[in-house]
């Protein structure tokens, strides 16, 4: 660990701590490094990160971690209790629950990723534009946001899926449509606090276009709070997806979606408790992981604590 024993590591550390960085990349890397140092000091946040990283690794290496894709029924071996061969037992069709959980992490990540990709840009775009432009643009955009905020999330998602037909993509779309509005509000609130700042005025005085100011000045400052909120919301998104799956409106069988696994497993809760419990624990663990990670990120990314 000592600097002398590991000259390359020491060189990297010196590069990351140099008071006068030699390039934009070094400056950014230093900033990220300082954030990481602060994040690392928070054990709870690190636990969250560990869970999320485990989820990602499970999704990537699913073929290596499992013996089957968990899709083919094997009726003679149905509802077996946990054993050396089937670590978490088998379900009502004889499929290995451990295999299904691992492959299910791909479904979960797919939902989480897709929702983030849709929600964050829409929320950011609407919120920053409303906040920066002000006037009637603000009024119109924020009333639209209010309309979306007024609907209960699961019910609106249900209505959407009912109209578009059940399926994973439609479930994702439904969740995204009901989730973006709070992001617009956060982004707008953030913009309102900075739009009168001298550095924005200075950019205007240099002749920067509205688009440029939004992209280069406003969005980078809102990004942190949106990312934090998104991470904290992940738990809710996963639960909503699981809820839709549970109601049979999300992922369709035989896709190993955790919510759907609980839904079909609940009939066996009293006699074969492991069937619904394993996916339930997985949902709980991953939701918790994202929550803890979000809390840790907030401490690091919050622009107000990042100064000084």
């Amino acid at each position: 660990m000592s600097a002398a024993a590991d000259p390359q590591g020491a060189g990297l550390r010196a590069w990351l701590r140099s008071p006068s960085p030699a390039s934009t990349w070094q400056a950014r890397a230093q900033r990220a490094y300082l954030g990481w140092v602060a994040f690392r000091a928070n054990p709870i946040a690190m636990a969250g990160l560990l869970i999320v990283v485990a989820l990602v690794l499970a999704a990537i290496f699913a073929p290596l971690l499992t013996g089957s894709r968990g899709l083919d029924p094997d009726l003679p071996n149905r509802l077996l209790p946990p054993s050396a061969e089937h670590w978490l037992g088998t379900d009502q069709l004889g499929r290995d629950i451990y295999d299904r959980l691992i492959w299910g992490s791909r479904v979960t990540l797919y939902i989480v990723g897709l929702v983030s990709i849709i929600v964050a840009p829409i929320g950011l775009a609407v919120g920053t534009l409303a906040g920066y432009a002000g006037g009637w643009v603000d009024t119109v955009l924020m009333r639209i946001v209010d309309i979306f905020l007024a609907f209960p999330r699961l019910i609106l998602a249900l209505a959407f899926v009912a109209a578009l037909g059940p399926g994973l993509e439609n479930a994702v779309l439904a969740i995204a449509l009901t989730t973006w509005s709070p992001y617009a509000r956060i982004a707008r609130a953030e913009v309102l606090t900075i739009r009168k700042a001298d550095y924005i005025v200075a950019a205007e005085a240099q002749g920067a276009s509205t688009w440029r100011i939004l992209r280069k000045h406003v969005v980078p400052l809102c990004l942190a709070s949106v990312i934090v909120r998104l991470t904290l919301d992940m738990a809710g998104i996963i639960l909503t997806a699981a809820g839709l799956g549970f109601l049979g409106l999300g992922a369709q069988p035989p896709l190993p979606e955790w919510g759907a696994m609980i839904s079909t497993g609940r009939d066996f809760l009293y006699d074969q408790w492991w069937v619904p419990t394993a996916p339930g624990a997985a949902i709980f663990l991953v939701s918790l992981g994202f929550c803890l990670l979000g809390d840790g990120l907030r401490d690091v990314l919050d622009p107000r604590s990042g100064e000084a």
Binding site: D198, V201, A202, A203, A205, Q206, G207, L221, G306, A308
Partner: protein
């Protein structure tokens, strides 16, 4: 260079209207430094902000280089006129490196040879190349204000609007920034319009000074009149007296001018 004629600025509407600037006129010649002094609420900053069109609504006419300004700022104006703000902590984007801050105007106006210009701008304001990739929170207040000056000058404008450029700085740093502003003006023949509440700072930089109170120009005088000779107006005399320090007897005689 700058001609301001009968400038008025009002905020709010109806009964709540505040007349921040009421009929202010002055002219600034090319290469001259002109100062606006006054206490808070005198409208001095509002005049500057109207010229920079940060407050786009104004009455009267403002001509720069003979061209009347419209309420919408054109992009070319930025190459002729730039502004330096009071608060060095608020004027630089917290997430941009010095390099990005200085590069922005060059990108907006599609000026080539960016790296050379950025290095030259840094050395012009007396900062070494080691500052180029630092973030604003990694440098001191005086250095930030130098960066703000460098950003304002990187497009090589003819006019610099200075809004209390040193009032947030320690006196020793203030001296450095004032010297920098003087040197740059001499080297480049810049025209300065400076706003400050500090009579000594304005008299140091500017040849002519307009004293403002309640949105009007009380009197216009040269720096040497301000220093030596008696200013004509009682308001100015009171301001000078207060600037010179505490005088128990003089304070008893202070009046509020409406």
């Amino acid at each position: 260079m700058i001609e301001v004629e009968n400038l008025t600025v009002e905020f709010g509407r109806g009964a709540a209207t505040v007349r921040a600037v009421r009929g202010v006129s002055f002219t600034v010649a090319q290469g001259e430094s002109y100062g606006l002094v006054g206490e808070s609420g005198s409208g001095k900053s509002t005049v500057l902000r109207a010229i920079a069109r940060i407050n786009p609504e104004f009455g009267g006419t403002i001509r720069v280089n003979g061209t009347p300004l419209t309420s919408k700022r054109s992009r070319d104006e930025a190459r002729r006129m730039q502004m330096v703000f009071q608060d060095p902590y608020g004027a630089l984007h917290p997430r941009h490196t010095v390099d990005a801050i200085l590069r922005e105007p060059l990108e907006i106006h599609r000026v080539g040879d960016k790296d050379r210009r950025i290095k030259a701008a840094l050395s012009d304001v007396g900062l070494g190349p080691e500052f180029r990739f630092r973030y604003p929170h990694q440098i001191s207040g005086g250095q930030r204000q130098r960066i703000a000056v460098a950003r304002a000058l990187i497009l090589e404008p003819e006019i610099l609007l200075l809004d209390e450029p040193t009032s947030a700085l320690d006196v020793s740093v203030q001296a450095e920034v004032l010297n920098l502003l003087k040197r740059l003006q001499r080297e480049r023949g810049l025209t300065y319009l400076m706003v400050s509440h500090n009579l000594a700072v304005v008299a140091h930089i500017c040849e002519r000074v307009a004293v403002m109170n309640r949105g009007r120009v009380v009197e216009e005088l040269t720096a040497s009149t301000l220093r030596g000779g008696e200013p004509a107006e009682a308001y100015t005399r009171q301001l000078v007296s207060a600037t010179e320090g505490y005088d128990r007897e003089a304070v008893r005689g202070y009046v509020t001018y409406e």
